[in-house]
């Protein structure tokens, strides 16, 4: 039985190597309807091999480490927090956007696919129960009334954690931002390793005690979409505060030194096609960059931010490592 399985595995991998393959590197949150991908394979005549490389930050580093022998032909999921780093390392091929309508968001040197916002979510039931007013500024979160209520992700190990830190730096200014983080630490902020840990073990909506969590602006809509009984209203809401909203734009690009250039460009165009743009909102919970795409009605239940504090990708590339180590010093290291 073992031999058979081994033999099968060997055969399939040998067969797979013969057909023309397009290697697509993505982060672990990538999801798209199977029929769409199958349709693309049929149309282009190549087999799409999706390779998931962990969180987006991890993925970019894997791409940089293997630049001498690229592990993929196309990369999807690099966003404005990582673009500068990827470009400085020279792992991306300048990629042309498909001709056609203007899109809502762009990424210099890459083809934008979707966008979203990292922001604070709050547990509506918790605030109603405690009869506590919602904070109206980041500063209020450092007051005694909001002690031990916030959980954030570590920017050194989590993409939304990093995005939120960047928003505070841009929104409050560098020095005031770190002073604010110091006060937030004194007010009992909890730091989780990643989004899943924060959302499912610390957020009061699930297992934890903290009614405010760093998450995405579409999360309330997803809560309704994935609820058990039909909800008329989202159980969580967005807390859109000055300095607490980051706009994330994700894109796709060809990998420098990768093969299958033509198919790769076709794949780029495919991600911008109407069908994919309509599919991705409820798959990856991001907004499509193509205007005029009809969204699932649940998106109306999540307030879309109208303002955000997002540093440009060049500033992020130059300074984010320094900001993260300063954040670690202020929030995690002080007192040791």
């Amino acid at each position: 039985m073992f031999k058979k399985v081994l033999w099968l595995a060997l055969c399939t991998s040998a067969l797979g190597a013969q057909a023309a393959e397009l290697r697509v590197l993505t982060h672990s949150s990538f999801a798209l309807s199977k029929e769409l991908l199958a349709g693309f394979e049929q149309q282009s005549g190549v087999k799409v091999v999706v390779i998931k490389a962990g969180d987006a930050g991890e993925m970019v580093n894997k791409l940089i480490l293997t630049r001498a022998n690229p592990i993929a032909d196309v990369v999807y999921g690099i966003d404005n927090t990582l673009l500068g780093k990827a470009q400085q390392a020279g792992v991306l091929e300048p990629t042309a956007s498909p001709a056609g309508a203007a899109v809502k968001q762009t990424l210099p040197g890459m083809v934008s696919v979707d966008y979203g916002y990292v922001t604070l979510n709050y547990d509506k039931a918790w605030f109603a129960r405690q009869k506590l007013a919602l904070p109206t500024s980041l500063d209020e979160l450092t007051r005694p009334a909001y002690k031990n209520l916030v959980v954030v992700e570590n920017p050194a190990t989590s993409s939304p954690g990093l995005a939120f830190l960047l928003a505070t730096v841009k929104g409050l200014g560098e020095e005031p931002a770190f002073a604010w983080w110091g006060k937030l630490r004194d007010n009992g902020v909890k730091v989780a390793k990643g989004w899943s840990e924060a959302y499912y073990t610390d957020f009061s909506k699930n297992g934890g005690s903290r009614p405010i969590v760093v998450s995405y602006a579409t999360s309330p809509a997803a809560e309704v979409f994935y609820s058990k009984e039909k909800l008329a209203e989202a159980p969580t809401g967005n807390l859109l505060l000055k300095g607490g909203v980051f706009q994330q734009v994700e894109g796709v690009a060809l990998v420098k030194g990768g093969g299958q250039k033509q198919a790769a460009q076709q794949f780029v165009d495919f991600l911008r096609s109407g069908a994919v743009q309509a599919d991705l909102p409820t798959q990856m919970w991001m907004y499509p960059v193509l205007p005029g795409v009809k969204l699932n009605p649940v998106f109306a239940l999540a307030q879309q931010p109208t303002a955000h504090d997002t540093p440009d990708s060049r500033a992020i590339a130059a300074k984010s490592a320094g900001w993260v180590s300063r954040w670690t010093r202020v929030v995690l290291k002080s007192g040791y």
Binding site: S13, E58, A68, V191, T201, Y226, K228, V324, L332
Partner: protein, 514 residues
């Protein structure tokens, strides 16, 4: 002489594997990083605090696991009760649970909305509880096997000569159990010291281990020089522990023919109380979080269980089965070869711990650097599974080999059996129970996929564990319910695997190979 030669040749297989899958990738990563690590890396108070904290919690967990685990194991081994064999197998279940799911189970009991009404979140108690959840079963299993190998005649002699049960324990049972306990505690220490474990998840980033620092340096900052320096520091510290253990184990080994003491029913009130107390403790530490997960899954309703019919779930089940079977085959071969060869050399015995003491994130990135063309191949993924799983087989078989009286195979040789024949007919039947035990641990590791998220993966390779992580990567009650249902399925799957692997459930009797 020929036997010695062939045993040396056996060492080549695990050594080649370790070199290709662990040492070379680490060396490649260190080379890439160069020697330019920051000089003030080790001056950092925070890093020192973390090291100290990692050491402290590992030691405290070891002490607690021994203090609770040994008496528990004694009761479970000495008293017969219905379901005893099954409970000993189920002890491996915590090993299989993804840490995030285990944390959900723990919080369902002792969280802000926990059923016990006792909120321990963000207290040190919850950290220790989490550590014990994963590590207590290791100690209980080892101690129970050790106590089962105490010769009944020796115990009877001690009691006849007037020893109390307490004194007999210290004079007869404790010396036999020591090497087994040393081995288990060494593993517990290594897991707690360098792990990403549950303690971290329950305690928040304040209690991060140094391994988390390495992860952040490699995966986020691409600071390979600092990461490499830290990884080497950890390697030296935990490598020392592994070496000490290997020496201790060999020194303490006592080969001898064993007629184990059969467990007897608890008769007196005191004995029954003891048994009930032990089972209650076991339920509290090892079973409660798992039951909480299963309970939440059951109460999630029919819609949540519909996830079982989905194509993705079925594919993930098939993959889990396929990958574990392949990884186990590899682990069996490597583990046996390593154990047989390691009898001669102490360093080789210690080398079996290498996969536990190397920083997983460094190995994962090193593999990527070393074999970019193979990085998204199934071969490499299965190799990684086998790397983490096979030392359990080695450990278990090596310990059993120490217990084989050397005269027995010698007698077989004198009577004209060839060396392979003497091994198959005399030694192997004695090793088989240990081999199966090791294999059960290996299966638990392969199913739990401790470091799986560090490697490149493809959607068509999704296993149950990765599917659970995917579900917990999205908001919404339905996703949480699906993750809990899938975790329950994973538990069922693991239980059947353990029961099959350790099937007959009784150590091979001497008469089996007459």
């Amino acid at each position: 002489m020929r036997a010695v030669f062939s045993r040396q040749a056996l060492a080549l297989l695990p050594l080649a594997f370790l070199t290709l899958m662990a040492l070379a990738p680490l060396a490649r990563l260190l080379y890439e990083g160069g020697s330019g690590f920051s000089a003030n890396l080790f001056q950092d108070d925070y890093l020192r605090w973390r090291l100290l904290w990692s050491l402290t919690q590992a030691v405290v967990t070891c002490v607690l696991a021994l203090a609770i685990g040994l008496p528990l194991a004694w009761v479970l081994t000495r008293f017969a009760f219905p379901g005893r064999a099954l409970i000993l197998r189920l002890l491996l279940l915590p090993f299989v649970m993804p840490t995030l799911v285990a944390a959900l189970g723990v919080l369902a009991l002792f969280g802000p909305h926990g059923v016990t009404g006792l909120n321990l979140q963000d207290t040190p108690w919850l950290l220790l509880y989490g550590n014990l959840f994963y590590n207590l079963p290791l100690v209980i299993r080892a101690a129970s096997e050790a106590l089962a190998s105490v010769p009944a005649s020796r115990l009877a002699a001690a009691r006849t000569l007037g020893c109390t049960a307490w004194r007999a324990f210290w004079r007869v049972e404790w010396p036999v159990a020591r090497p087994w306990l040393a081995s288990a505690l060494c593993l517990v220490f290594l897991y707690c010291f360098s792990g990403f474990g549950l303690a971290l998840l329950l305690g928040g980033q304040r209690y991060a281990t140094v391994e988390v620092e390495i992860y952040s340096l490699v995966a986020y900052e691409l600071n390979l020089a600092d990461a490499g320096a830290l990884a080497l520091l950890l390697l030296c510290l935990s490598g020392g522990v592994a070496f000490g253990y290997a020496w201790l184990e060999r020194r303490l080994a006592t080969p001898g023919k064993v007629e184990p003491l059969p467990p007897r029913p608890a008769v007196t009130l005191a004995e029954r109380t003891l048994l009930a107390g032990a089972l209650a403790l076991l339920a509290l530490f090892a079973a409660a979080p798992l039951l909480a997960v299963a309970g939440r899954a059951l109460s999630a309703g029919v819609e949540a269980w519909a996830v079982l019919g989905e194509g993705d779930t079925l594919a993930a089940l098939a993959n889990t089965l396929r990958f574990s079977a392949l990884a186990l085959t590899l682990a069996a071969v490597l583990g046996l070869a390593h154990a047989l060869a390691a009898q001669r050399w102490l360093w080789l015995r210690a080398a079996a711990f290498l996969p536990f003491v190397l920083s997983p994130v460094c190995v994962a990135f090193g593999l990527l650097l070393l074999y970019p063309g193979w990085s998204a191949s199934l071969t490499l993924l299965l190799g990684a599974y086998a790397l983490l799983a096979y030392p359990f087989v080695t450990k278990s078989v090596a310990a059993a080999l120490d217990g084989v009286p050397p005269q027995w195979p010698q007698a077989a040789r004198t009577l004209g059996a060839s060396a392979p024949r003497a091994f198959v007919r005399v030694v192997w039947p004695l090793l088989q129970p240990a081999f199966r035990r090791g294999l059960a641990f290996a299966a638990a590791t392969a199913l739990g996929e401790f470091a799986v998220t560090l490697f490149l993966s493809r959607p068509e390779w999704t296993t149950l564990t990765t599917l659970i992580y995917q579900r917990l990567g999205r908001p919404g009650a339905a996703n949480l319910d699906a993750a809990l249902v899938l975790s329950s399925v994973l538990m069922l799957f693991a239980v059947s695997a353990f029961v099959i692997i350790e099937w007959p459930g009784r150590p091979a009797k001497d008469s089996d190979h007459a």
